[in-house]
Symmetry: C2
Subunit: 246 residues, 2 copies
DNA sequence: CAGTGGTCTAGACCACCGG
DNA sequence: CGGTGGTCTAGACCACTGT
């Protein structure tokens, strides 16, 4: 990534600038709680207008890299705040962020009629449409982390093969590359649950052990429900992170 | 709230416009998944520039009221997505959002030297500074929901009296009104825990019952740690909501 | 094609902060 | 006071969508 903005690059200038600044932060060139150059200085430095500068800065603020103080300047966030969290991630991405190697063991994969309760969560008509059902034991560094059950709505007549899931690992990637469906937003709930005998034996814990239960409804860029996912995590191995703002 | 933008109002125009649009959405004037007027039409309608229009729309997008599709238009989000979540809220605000009357029973309140582990979370120097310690049983509609332990960093020499906590209920409000400290960002973790005998008796459950354990570090507008809060929620009464984006 | 949002410019004035 | 970010204008061209 060069340190100048290329007007012939097809990516937006504010995005190029954000990448440059992000690298300077990551490289320690701009230090935590120290100011970056002012907006007028950045105008000079990169030859773009202040509006464009501000777009780049706003992007980096949303990602947690920068913060502003009116009348004082724009500053680098302390490390802790730089982890972009409350971001929509797949299990695989989640594990990688935690420094663990994601893995899986597929227990079931087929096209089926979803039960009524799930059908409503998927916002599907009562008319018969089959969805992809997938049950997987999820691993982090080859150790069972959770048990995942998902119902995914595919374009009519389409399907995903077990082989694709095996090789790609992440359903999100398949959705994006094969069907151009991009997970954009999700509603998630978290609560505690107790392991059923089956869950317990799959996860290698005692029945009745506490679990962290996550239920998530994911929406595509077209605001249609893509999938409903339920994951039970081992209570002793998983912790959920969120970054809150207001 | 009138339906025109008042140039003499001290609040920004984009903010006034966002309020107007939000009310039209809430009032059902703009229907879910239906388009609102285009940016050029809004320019005409409200007599402000397109930049200002876009600032208002971006605000409403972040709040979950609107979504955009390039080349098609700007649309009203379905109801489900309109609940602004992953927002930094106090326990009191959280309960109100759930339609429950927040309450509390103060178990301890004093100024004290925080234990080493907490002191690090508060990013305090080893030098002696006392912080506000508060232990409260938290109620929703007068039923125990959780047990909250908090350590709050106050400006040197300042304190908060039990009477203030009793009457105001929310520490956040006191911090804001008395010290002009505004909770701006927070890092939160969630995991499962099992009730200790003391927690169990206070929450009215059996020892060893599953709990949802939340730990939160809250930052002020100056990026300093304001408080560290630990809450254990009754596993059978509390569910955590999050809205994820990317 | 016309209409939409996405990006960008070159200005302007304001509110806030520090010396 | 000068410098910072906050707001705002009136344009421009581009990329994408539908017909």
């Amino acid at each position: 990534m060069p340190d100048v903005i290329d007007p012939y690059d097809f990516t937006p200038r504010y995005y190029q600038l954000a990448s440059i600044l992000r690298e300077r932060i990551a490289g320690g060139e701009y230090q935590p709680n120290q100011p970056i150059p002012s907006e007028r200085q950045l105008e000079e430095l990169y030859g773009v207008s202040r509006t464009t500068i501000r777009q780049a800065i706003e992007l980096l603020m949303r990602q947690g890299y920068l913060y502003r103080e009116h009348g004082r300047g724009t500053f680098v966030s302390p490390q802790k705040l730089q982890k972009g969290i409350s971001e929509l991630t797949s299990f695989s991405e989640d594990m990688k962020q935690r420094g663990l190697e994601p893995g899986q063991q597929i227990l079931a994969i087929d096209m089926r009629q979803p039960p009524e309760k799930i059908r409503q969560r998927l916002e599907l008509e009562a008319s018969a449409q089959e969805v992809l059902y997938l049950e997987r034991l999820r691993l982090g560094d080859n150790i069972p982390m959770g048990l995942q059950t998902s119902y995914t709505v595919l374009p009519p007549g389409q399907t995903i093969t077990p082989a694709e899931v095996e090789t790609q690992g992440s359903i999100y990637r398949i959705l994006q590359e094969k069907f151009h469906l991009i997970p954009t937003e999700a509603d998630e709930t978290l609560e505690v649950a107790l392991a059923t005998p089956r869950e317990a034996s799959l996860l290698g814990i005692a029945p009745g052990s506490p679990l962290l239960l996550s239920e998530r409804t994911t929406y595509s860029q077209y605001r249609r429900v893509i999938e409903f996912v339920k994951i039970v995590y081992r209570g002793d191995r998983y912790r959920y992170f969120a970054k809150l703002t207001r």
